[in-house]
């Protein structure tokens, strides 16, 4: 049934459909409505879960960790400073290979203080060892949340579902929420065979000497690579059960003969899609790649997706100061081994919630054709606002 729901509310309802045993969360803009809606579902008796309203994000992640260690289905959600406060625990959860799901309502990281959207938060923990999936719409965020619970138990890797703060979390969209029965039929109960259990006592999270540490990291990396197939499979299964997919590892749209391509993640994909539709005549043909899986990075799928392109615009919503765009650098690294790899124009857009109008689309395509365009720029920065020495 389709209902008009705010993104956060839809996420709360989607989480409830997955029967989590334990939810722990701490409020932070723009994730707050998710926690509030979960609290409401619990208070109304519509969600039977142990909801632990903790004193910090650090404890939110730790509570979820403790719950997951016992074989419980655990969930948390946060954003921005919360992601950073959780950082130590996030690495720990992944290193312990504990299944759980977390929503990140992507927001810039302070300073300067900004409550608005960019991807600096989830990017800051990209090496934590979590699966990171991005949603381009609220429907995808809902469906990806349900899929995430399946992916996490199939891979024993924690899954982060990233959705752009405000742009998605605070937007009302018609959402098709599957029924509880259908989700229960699709999502098998969590069986975690390493769980803490007095009947079969195990030690977990132990000190590991150099004798074994590289093997642990290797197996984590290899589990992440195997997860590529699991993510695709979960989306395909979801599509056969519910009639719609969320983008697998990545999707490609636009003109297959185009010589210019764009790569983006999250809601920017929708903006670029609109730009492409409106400005096709003046901007010329293009191919749009929506990167849904950021970790594990779908390197081969990306190499296939860019085949035939002369130019590739990589849109970043976070930067690594002193290097440039993070996604741009990674795409360049992955394509370096591809024959006839396209020339990359890496742009950062929409940092700290700067609006990305679709009218930017023709400017981006023009920049690609400009031989003097810098390989990386904060494309929408108005340098006139800076003192000359800061430009």
């Amino acid at each position: 049934m389709r209902e008009a729901l705010e993104g956060s509310q839809a996420i709360a309802r989607a989480v409830a459909l997955c029967d989590p045993d334990v939810i722990a969360a701490y409020p932070i803009t723009p994730q707050t409505h998710i926690v509030e809606n979960i609290s409401k579902l619990v208070a109304e008796g519509d969600l039977h879960t142990e909801f632990v309203s903790v004193e910090s994000e650090f404890s939110a992640a730790s509570v979820a960790l403790g719950a997951a260690a016992t074989g419980a289905r655990a969930y948390t959600a946060t954003a921005s400073q919360g992601v950073l406060l959780m950082a130590e625990v996030l690495f720990n959860i992944a290193g312990m290979r504990l299944p759980m799901v977390m929503t990140v309502a992507n927001r810039a990281v302070s300073a300067p203080l900004s409550i608005w959207n960019d991807h600096a938060d989830s990017m800051a923990v990209r090496d934590a060892g979590w699966i990171q999936l991005h949603a381009t719409s609220n429907q995808e965020a809902v469906d990806t949340t349900i899929q995430a619970f399946r992916i996490t138990q199939d891979t024993e890797l924690p899954v982060m579902v990233c959705m752009d703060g405000f742009i998605l979390t605070h937007t009302l969209e018609p959402i098709d929420l599957p029924s509880h029965e259908d989700v229960r039929a699709w999502l098998p109960p969590l069986e975690f065979d390493r769980k803490l259990d007095p009947a079969d006592p195990k030690s977990m999270g132990m000190l590991v000497t150099p004798d074994f540490f590289p093997e642990v990291r290797h197996s984590h990396h290899s589990a992440m690579q195997k997860a590529l197939a699991t993510i695709e499979q979960a989306d395909a299964d979801f599509e056969s059960a519910f009639g719609r997919a969320s983008g697998g590892l990545l999707t490609v749209e636009g003109d297959p003969e185009a010589k210019i391509g764009l790569v983006a993640m999250g809601s920017t994909v929708g903006t670029m899609r609109a730009g492409m539709a409106h400005f096709q005549a003046e901007a010329g043909p293009a191919r749009l790649i929506n990167l849904r899986a950021y970790r594990p990075f779908p390197s081969q799928a990306l190499r296939d997706a860019v085949r035939g392109l002369d130019h590739l615009i990589v849109i970043d919503r976070a930067i690594s100061p002193g290097l440039g765009g993070i996604l741009g650098s990674e795409v360049a690294a992955v394509l370096s081994s591809a024959p006839d790899a396209p020339r990359i124009l890496n742009v950062a857009l929409g940092l700290g919630g700067r609006d990305i109008p679709e009218t930017l689309y023709p400017d981006l395509l023009a920049a690609v054709r400009d031989p003097d365009a810098p390989a990386f720029s904060v494309f929408d920065a108005d340098l006139k606002k800076l003192a000359p020495e800061d430009r």
Partner: protein, 359 residues
């Protein structure tokens, strides 16, 4: 390098593959193995000789297990009991981080509730993981009223990282970050009064215990295990390495800490003092300080040495006074007093009974 045969053996024992059919019983059992009691923390771990923390943890788990699970903070206890693929734990046990044992335990407990299971959750932390870096998570756990017994093994410094001061380090004690020198007489600040802070959460049960009084310690653990809600126990656990005393003196030193009044053994319920272990014969603080190298600078000719000793004596006198440790006006039939307990921890008559109330 890793010995392949040993690795195969460990894999078989601890790996994911099903274990081999039950191992043949060892021909001769060690005295520990022959003991009928539950052994949750096995021997063979890597603690230093005379480690108070190892002893305390064994006593706690022995009496709390086997239907428990433990969230353990980073610290000596975590490190000396593990190193994959070996573990000294015979109860489900998880280590996550230094500062989140209370939160991890909260999650375990929430999961037990969600699944309708009764397994009691324990959280273990050192003084660093409890008084300092894990303090916020602990306060949150107590406030949210999780059914968890939190045990702090208080060895009064960060031992795992090589003896640095914590907020539990006593005044004037030397550590590697509070050394004595021309300008300093060891730690300049007081040991944090954690018990009062914990008690201010008005949780059902807050207590202190000592490895020198194992029966009293285990009685407190049993009491805490019966509580459906948060309980907090701090166990004074000498560290021969960090306190620089002879490793055979662990119990002796721990007992003197109680007998001089510097480490009072008390119980509080819902924030109110309900019981103390009375000291029959109060010892001078110097008796406690003397065997410990961390206080050696307090026995020099320096005038400041006498001042600091007086200061520590005053702190002990203060404890004796506020907790009524000399037992004045208390039940004369009580035999649980510090001086009445023998070296083995056994009292002349059973003191393993009801808590005595002081008004």
């Amino acid at each position: 390098m890793v010995d392949d045969a040993r690795l195969a053996d460990l894999r078989r024992k601890f790996g994911r593959a099903p274990a081999a059919p039950s191992e043949p019983a060892p021909a001769k059992r060690t005295p520990r193995e022959a003991q009928p009691r539950f052994r949750g923390l096995e021997s063979g771990h890597r603690a230093c000789q005379g480690c108070g923390e190892a002893l305390a943890a064994r006593l706690v788990v022995e009496c709390a297990g086997p239907d428990v699970m433990i969230a353990n903070a980073t610290g000596c206890l975590e490190v000396f009991t593990t190193a994959w693929p070996e573990s000294a734990w015979r109860v489900p046990w998880a280590h996550s981080l230094f500062e989140n044992a209370a939160a991890v335990a909260s999650g375990m407990e929430a999961a037990m509730k969600a699944k309708g299971r009764n397994t009691k959750v324990l959280a273990f932390g050192g003084d660093g993981g409890t008084y300092d870096i894990g303090f916020q998570a602990l306060s949150g756990m107590l406030e949210r009223y999780h059914n968890v017994l939190y045990v702090c093994y208080d060895n009064e410094a960060y031992m795992n990282t090589g003896i640095q001061r914590s907020s539990s380090t006593p005044h004037a004690a030397t550590t590697t970050t509070s050394p004595a020198g021309k300008e300093r007489m060891g730690k300049r600040h007081l040991k944090k009064d954690l018990l009062s802070i914990i008690a201010a959460h008005h949780i059902p049960y807050t207590a202190s215990a000592s490895v020198a009084f194992p029966q009293d310690l285990q009685r407190k653990v049993r009491h805490a295990m019966g509580i459906d809600g948060p309980a907090f126990l701090v166990v004074h656990s000498p560290c021969p390495l960090g306190w620089r005393h002879d490793s055979r003196l662990t119990i002796d030193v721990a007992r003197k800490a109680v007998e001089c009044g510097l480490f009072p053994l008390v119980e509080l319920e819902r924030g109110a003092l309900t019981n103390v272990m009375p000291i029959r014969e109060v010892r001078p603080v110097a008796d406690y300080l003397k065997p410990q190298g961390r206080f050696a600078h307090l026995f020099s000719d320096d005038v400041r040495a006498q001042e600091e000793r007086d200061h520590l004596q005053a702190l002990a006198d203060y404890n004796i006074q506020v907790y009524g440790l000399t037992g004045e006006g208390q039940d004369p039939a009580d035999t649980g007093g510090a001086a009445a307990v023998g070296r083995s921890g056994r009292a002349p008559r059973g003191n393993d009974g009801a808590a005595r109330r002081v008004s």
